[in-house]
Symmetry: none
Subunit: 291 residues, 2 copies
Amino acid sequence: MSNKRSRTLAERIRENFDELTRAEHQLADIILENYPVSAMGSITTLANASRVSTPTVARMARKLGFSGFPAMQIALREELEATISNPIAKHERFAESAPDTHILNRFAEAALENMRQSLKRIDPKTFDSVAALLSNSENDVYVAGGRITHTIAQYFFTHMQVIRKGMNLIDSGSSTWPHFVLNMNEGDVLVAFDIRRYERDLLRLAEMATARGVTLVLFTDQWGSPAARHARHVFNLRIEVPSAWDSSVVTLFLVEALLAAVQTNTWGETRDRVKSLEELFDKTKLFRKFS
Amino acid sequence: MSNKRSRTLAERIRENFDELTRAEHQLADIILENYPVSAMGSITTLANASRVSTPTVARMARKLGFSGFPAMQIALREELEATISNPIAKHERFAESAPDTHILNRFAEAALENMRQSLKRIDPKTFDSVAALLSNSENDVYVAGGRITHTIAQYFFTHMQVIRKGMNLIDSGSSTWPHFVLNMNEGDVLVAFDIRRYERDLLRLAEMATARGVTLVLFTDQWGSPAARHARHVFNLRIEVPSAWDSSVVTLFLVEALLAAVQTNTWGETRDRVKSLEELFDKTKLFRKFS
DNA sequence: AGTATATTGAAAAATATTATACACAGTTTA
DNA sequence: TAAACTGTGTATAATATTTTTCAATATACT
């Protein structure tokens, strides 16, 4: 009897089916036939589809325990939301022993939500185009970041350098970037990271580079850096976390995914380069042997 | 080119995202955030949820190619109908239009799994202890990373430098690290990142530092760096992804969570530092004004 | 069969929703 | 620096939706 979760509309209809009249049966059938979409439009649409009058629909909503047709619709939407909301982890408790309010869990929730939202906004076509662009070693690639994102840019650069030749990391904050622009040729690629607060220098760099025929790939946040207007491809990422700063986790994630894609595209070439690199490391004995 | 099936609302939003204005971005975010339910109510509900005016919603509907808001809603319902009646589509909720085998989705799955597994292994008590350790500005903090993790170390360092004084970043790869050890005092903290393949230098640094009474906090992978035997606190993180390299996403996540915790602990002090920093930036006009 | 009761839908009233007009603020351009 | 433009929200008009009223019709019961 005392069901915590409120019953669904479908359940209510089935429970009360016997109490329903002829016209209401007709209506109920239509609702269940294409549930829940058929009941998501206007009362008139539903009435017409069921070949009953609008008052019949309103009356049935009441009969099923709602205050009126709109209330029924709201309940239906909530139902739908519960059904299709992304199942991933929403109800999983991660660091189980930590209370929900612990910063670790709050941060984890936020990070996962950022990930989910960002993925929704990434167009796989864009992703593939960018991967292809970066896989073409005919053209040079320049990488630039801002104050905070510089480390992400560096991370990207470090890995890309293993994958292919023609990689350039533009120093952050320094005034040397115009020198880099001098070397850029039409068809080259500039990968820029610009998260709020957006930096003037980066906007100028983007302007000057694109003016020279360089293709700009931009990693930015959900609000969009002003450099986006110059960009061929833009990734809008979600970066909000319970902290005074923005999160770079999703940015790093996308960078890694791109690296994986490029690496796959260029495997023949990359393989040799990785091998040579390993040999170099062996010679310098930088690493410990790993069993 | 000529797509038989008409584009979904989500696709339209992504395609035209660049053409959208500030308020429209806000709106688009809300629509995508809880897609498609958030847009199934009245225009007013949606406007309020997005904190924009109703005309903005109506205008965007037009901009996206619908005759008005109701038309958009009808399209959305049809979309929903198609989705619900087609169970295969249900699994594509993630990066909707990307098939499950797309690298983006495979990578996302892996990253989320890494996150989940890592969080299970993190002891909140350890986390809190480390946060407390780093919040005590009496003692200096040294940060060191390896070839790949250096960028993460740098990220951590950059933010910590804003939060507190006494931060030191040990150059990676260089042979200067013994100089840093000279300055270390008992009670100081060394935060080290050592992911496979573990680096000899880092092990030696850990040995020498702990010998001087320094507390070692180690970020490593699930197998555990050899430096772990010297560490007071160890974070074992899951780092495997479908790629030739390991993922640093979870490492970065934990670093950010720690930053948030430390920042909360030291807010009184941090606040002033952040303020001063903002003023410095204002003077240098490095950033664009952000409204 | 005749009366009472329940069901139903047309029409109108009440209410909610959506679109439009317009003014203001911020930004860009000349 | 002013003028033109763009984007945005408030107020309001236009439109659609929902509810109510009420008469017509069907059904049940004596």
